[in-house]
Symmetry: D2
Subunit: 356 residues, 4 copies
Amino acid sequence: MTERYNAAVIGAGYWGPNLARNLRAADDWNLAGICDLDRARAARVAESVGGAPVWTDIDEVLGDPLIDAVAIATPARTHRALVCRALEAGKHVMVEKPLADGREAGETMVALARERGLVLMTDHTYCYTPAVMKIRELIAQGRLGDILYVDSTRINLGLVQSDVDVLWDLAPHDLAILDFVLPGGLPQTTVSALGADPLGTGRACVGFLAMPLPGGGIAHIQVNWLSPTKIRRMVIGGTRSTLVWDDLNPQQRVSVFDRGVDLASHGVEAVRSAQVSYRIGDTWSPALPEREALAGVVAEFAAAIRGRRAPRTDGASGLRVLSVLAAATQSLERHGEPVAVAAPTPVPAAVPALEG
Amino acid sequence: MTERYNAAVIGAGYWGPNLARNLRAADDWNLAGICDLDRARAARVAESVGGAPVWTDIDEVLGDPLIDAVAIATPARTHRALVCRALEAGKHVMVEKPLADGREAGETMVALARERGLVLMTDHTYCYTPAVMKIRELIAQGRLGDILYVDSTRINLGLVQSDVDVLWDLAPHDLAILDFVLPGGLPQTTVSALGADPLGTGRACVGFLAMPLPGGGIAHIQVNWLSPTKIRRMVIGGTRSTLVWDDLNPQQRVSVFDRGVDLASHGVEAVRSAQVSYRIGDTWSPALPEREALAGVVAEFAAAIRGRRAPRTDGASGLRVLSVLAAATQSLERHGEPVAVAAPTPVPAAVPALEG
Amino acid sequence: MTERYNAAVIGAGYWGPNLARNLRAADDWNLAGICDLDRARAARVAESVGGAPVWTDIDEVLGDPLIDAVAIATPARTHRALVCRALEAGKHVMVEKPLADGREAGETMVALARERGLVLMTDHTYCYTPAVMKIRELIAQGRLGDILYVDSTRINLGLVQSDVDVLWDLAPHDLAILDFVLPGGLPQTTVSALGADPLGTGRACVGFLAMPLPGGGIAHIQVNWLSPTKIRRMVIGGTRSTLVWDDLNPQQRVSVFDRGVDLASHGVEAVRSAQVSYRIGDTWSPALPEREALAGVVAEFAAAIRGRRAPRTDGASGLRVLSVLAAATQSLERHGEPVAVAAPTPVPAAVPALEG
Amino acid sequence: MTERYNAAVIGAGYWGPNLARNLRAADDWNLAGICDLDRARAARVAESVGGAPVWTDIDEVLGDPLIDAVAIATPARTHRALVCRALEAGKHVMVEKPLADGREAGETMVALARERGLVLMTDHTYCYTPAVMKIRELIAQGRLGDILYVDSTRINLGLVQSDVDVLWDLAPHDLAILDFVLPGGLPQTTVSALGADPLGTGRACVGFLAMPLPGGGIAHIQVNWLSPTKIRRMVIGGTRSTLVWDDLNPQQRVSVFDRGVDLASHGVEAVRSAQVSYRIGDTWSPALPEREALAGVVAEFAAAIRGRRAPRTDGASGLRVLSVLAAATQSLERHGEPVAVAAPTPVPAAVPALEG
């Protein structure tokens, strides 16, 4: 029988109970306990999973040599300090998205994990849903051909956040998904962002973000806290077919449309002279299993520790998302001017690379 | 009994037959005939409406003193010459959208119509659909409150055009509608546009256009020729309620959601401190008559001539749309930098103003 | 070049203009003219197709030796007399559904056509839509397996008819489609029908019709004139997969769900003991061409004449539909008791059979 | 502060955990414990709600004088014995639907509760959803006018049950809802039922059930275990407006269509002569709170005990549902012949009536 790792959950707010429940249910994990500054809150989470130890002092958690790993679900501004202390204490770390509240903080965390040879995983939960895993698989198999455009819409009536704008609140989901499914990961070239704050809340409540894709395409993300209708839809158009992921349609979440411009029978000249014909083919919806994504997240965390490898959504992935968000914020301030995504600080060659 | 006006249709291509059919069916009009360089094409249109005179020489049409007006449905690049000749011949003119293929041409046309005291109407057909007329009415009545954002999506598998990009092909619809329904008309401030040509056709096939709205809001338009699914949806978010127009849902085209941020009970301070609550209210869909929009277009054209007034979608409206498109093209070339919309050339005060 | 047949349209009401337009446009046909008791009405139809001869006296039409065929679009109660006179005059006949207003009338017409060796075709237009043709093809290929159930819903806000109830008004569509797509044609066993007339109009406005299918299955048809929402949906469940035809969803009219009870791996015993498992497979939507069904109807009419064969929706097919409707009316009077469908009167063997 | 009642849950299968969780969370209740023949199963339920006493012997539960009430969630065939024993032990009883597996058993239970002056409640959970409560309210207010027809569809890929057919498995939901929302409760006149068992499982997997409504209308229920698509839709057509409840559309569950036959302006004569016009009015969707129905169920149970009154879904309601189901089974055996619903056995006048 495989050894179980011991994990503590740090943070008993919105996401903590889900982490606790999935760690408890997993074959790979023992839930060592819940830590929160507010003891009553931690106790409620512990009770909801049938009882577990409770701490209010993180030093106790990090000082416990039996604890292998921590799952951190605290506000983004606290990530840097908590993650670094945990890594320095020799713990593997999984951290809520976004990885940090700034690019530099993210770089520090990734570098430290690399230096210590520990797993640093970003909890990009969506990447472990059956729909997104199927999308990644279909793209990798070439089913869509080359990617021409991505158009993602994530809108609903949402609470105006006190610390972040709508881009930092919602777009990390889309960026993490793109990082996961696009062949080269999330593009790190330039970003254009526009937003509006029509209620005078002090931060954008409506936002648009665009990035060039390799080969001349474009990825566009639209987020909105003020929409009375809820839409969660991503369209990925390719040269061979186009995929539509409608996350609110449980009966047909992912559809592949075998339609598009017929390049094969026309050639580039035809396209240039606009004599392009269109192919109307069949539509196909793969069956998807019903499965809780977070179960896959904690399984991958354990597998990465066991295999001494980077998890699929590692710290570097979280950092690519952060880098795009940081550039988006600058573009927003410059009214949509494209801003270059900062290149990652080079890592000294001598350090063994666990993070992919 | 009211006198009927005589109208000739110029151009027997895609739109000409619809104009001919509606002029023939209208109480206000006699269809005087069809003019096209290609006689056979003109004859086919004439036959489709039960017979009508046919010309190939526009001078014959313009020289006929019995003809009061012309409806021009030729390619955009021909509009300037044809419209000006018709106005100079003393004919009232209705012209297919876009008004012209450039801002300057549009200004010339509008100035000439004004000078001659003739009606110049842009055929913004969508503005005469029951849905758009209802939207205009609801906004004018204050039902939506102040407009916070507009989000319009117009995508489908469309033919790559030989002469225009996707912004010039599809966005005129959205811009004309905004000009018609927004209290101050189409904003003439700045425009940001992004696009992509992932197939290398020489023009953008995917496009995004954004404009600030008065009061801090934003209008965003997304157009795409490469989408396998067809979407025609406009969302108009206001302080009181939000309207969704889904033109492909004949059973519920227009919905008004009485949901949004509850400002009244909180005040600006609450909003600034992000203590905003949300109101979830009822949804309401007005009944809309089934009516062909183009019948309303030709009726308005006649009414404007009869009433010696500017039509609701006059040349100035077409010019506002052109000005935004021209700025969008510049922004596209500058990778999304906002570009100021050119101010209209001042009109000498002495000229009597028929155009509103 | 193939010879064209000459056809006259009898009846210039709701459907006549469509017949006239399609006959005029077809390569196989010359539109010989339009006949209606109301000359003005006939003239309007003639004008709408660019001009055609007009008659008010059917004897002139039937006496014209150049006319090969007639397409009859008059009320059902007139079909018997008109069709018989046309057949006796040696004309091939296509007649609007339902074939007649009673079973006996239908039998007379079918027998007469057979006797004279002439084509008698029922205009079951739906059978020539790309969707229904695809459904027939998929069932014939075994893609659905054995048919377990059919569930058809055809409801909307419709005018209460003065002469027929909702079953006779709407169910002929469903019955004709079943006759076309089911391997053995429309079952001629028993029918159960229920209805209601909650407004006291003197005829059922809501109706339900059910028939056993070979092998223990059931076909159920629901029709309703009082529904504010419009539904046109047929579900055909089979042992291998289930087909859903949603005629109001132009983007995905026909879907095949590869889901169902997994019999193969369980066997009958498992089923009896209710240890049945379910298979959740992919969904697939075939691309369907955009094509006017009535063009296919008139082409089939010509092909049947030319090939001296029964058309796909022949008089016998119309008669099977009539027989089920007649039994349904009896069942309705008996509050849903199942009523046997009358067997067709045997045809003397000596008569050559053109009708299949 | 109000006194809490003590309740034990009997049965730790599919529904038991939900009952336990809601009793624990309710202000009116103390969860006294869980009873199941399988101790481990009971223990798991107890643990899932944070711990509770566990029994395997029902006599211990019923013998405990501190226990006021039991909530029974065992198979239908066990209801009669368990409910009667609990009532004889002086406990108030809430029981899973269907009330029993036969009409007679239901009558016995209702009579016994009445005799002992105890609350007997059927857990018709759907009646406590915000949607159904709103439907009841709208009908009671006259918003729909007189009810003309009800059309309910409840289909999906469901497990073939080992003990009941699809009518007994799924139709109780629809019948309980009709009993709750129709002004006179569930009609107890006649029932027609049809079904099919195309897989040879020994019981109907596809079923149809129809009942006349007062005033000439009809209620129709369609249930199906073999449908690959899931539909949960009820249409209630009235003289004033028509309501559509689509339970799978969380954004617009209940819609009221202000459309229908315009009787007011025409009169009965017009209707008889079929000169009926149709009114196309607005559509309206009331906002509905998000609330767990079972919380309302347990609150109503407590309120009925406290108020010494019958609960809204009392034993008599469960019995009306049973009576219709029993008649449906007979009609099914007679191939759809209408079967009269058995009249309730008269209750001796001397017995005080707690059950409404």
